[in-house]
Symmetry: C2
Subunit: 197 residues, 2 copies
Amino acid sequence: MTSYESEKLAATLKAAREKKGLSQRALSSRAGVPQSHISKIESGAVNLTVSSLTAIANALDLELALVPRKAAPAVRTITRSVNDVPKATPETRKEIARLAKQVDHLRSLEIDTPAVETLQRHFRELRQFENLIRNTDALRSIRETLKAVDDAGGVSALREATNQMSSFRNALAHGLTEENRTRLPRPAYRLDGGDDE
Amino acid sequence: MTSYESEKLAATLKAAREKKGLSQRALSSRAGVPQSHISKIESGAVNLTVSSLTAIANALDLELALVPRKAAPAVRTITRSVNDVPKATPETRKEIARLAKQVDHLRSLEIDTPAVETLQRHFRELRQFENLIRNTDALRSIRETLKAVDDAGGVSALREATNQMSSFRNALAHGLTEENRTRLPRPAYRLDGGDDE
DNA sequence: GAGTGTGATATATTTAAGTATATCAAGTTG
DNA sequence: CAACTTGATATACTTAAATATATCACACTC
């Protein structure tokens, strides 16, 4: 194997893991391969066995295939087309998870339950577009607003955060944020912004 | 790796080698992997490294690919469509090689040069259909006839062999032999059977 | 029968993959 | 700041892949 090919394989595995938002330790659990070994594999430091490769690939929802050389370009095209479905970046996943935690926390405060339920609904709707989020500033801003609910902002801060979510979701749906507008996976459509409150 | 998968991989490699008409020793030379090891690999007795797999695969005009699970059916389809181009079986290749040797031998005898040239032309035309031959009895029969040229048959045996080749080629072209008729790679067309003699 | 080819198998050796476990430096969170 | 996470790295050990070489049984050819 040329070093170019082993580098490609290592890079493919690393990219796939990151794309799924897994740490090496999480992948280690899934694949049954020690984390230290995964680190070496990803850095191209070992020539792994087919069974190790298969275990890791399967844990990453990949399959090992032997394809005729003349079919390789077509296979690459297919792989790319599947991979081109937008996925949430690891950063986005983290911010969404933090936001989810914050929303859960507010639920346990038992304040103005209808307003919290509205917030939750908007959060669920925002999550449907999480694959399109490429800049997490808006998510962080919403989280700051939700923190203010605890501090003293109360219901007005809650509503502010809900509005922010709604605006952000709408912008994503319209592809109007700084996100890559060619990545919109659906026809543009209009959303009503005033369906409650 | 499940044993089903390692069996599949071994079978794939063996089938690919046979399809190319290579012996394990020939593949060994091409891939730089000892023949004894290839034997073990094909029987599924070892868990080979990715570099060994890649070396062997490349020698068989295959590429290793990691494809998303959801794309695996499409990849299998592509692989199958490339593989479905008919190829001569190893047995057919052998018989064709033997026949070629026999024809060469007759050339060196310097008998009735026009008849030998006709034979050669018919042999070349037959070879264009060698991918379709699935039963080598006809080839063996032609070879026996050619042997009779040496013995005492002379030019009449030569002509008999030429006719046999011509008939076999026509039958292949028409898909009228016991070969699988769905494998005809071209529209059926009519050949003139009496273009010489 | 001698010679050749083929795939399977054996032997001895070297190399490194794989494993378990621990630790480190850096980053993040509350 | 303490606690946790992350990926990289180290250590010691086991296991087996890989290699070189040879041989066998069988099939085929002349």
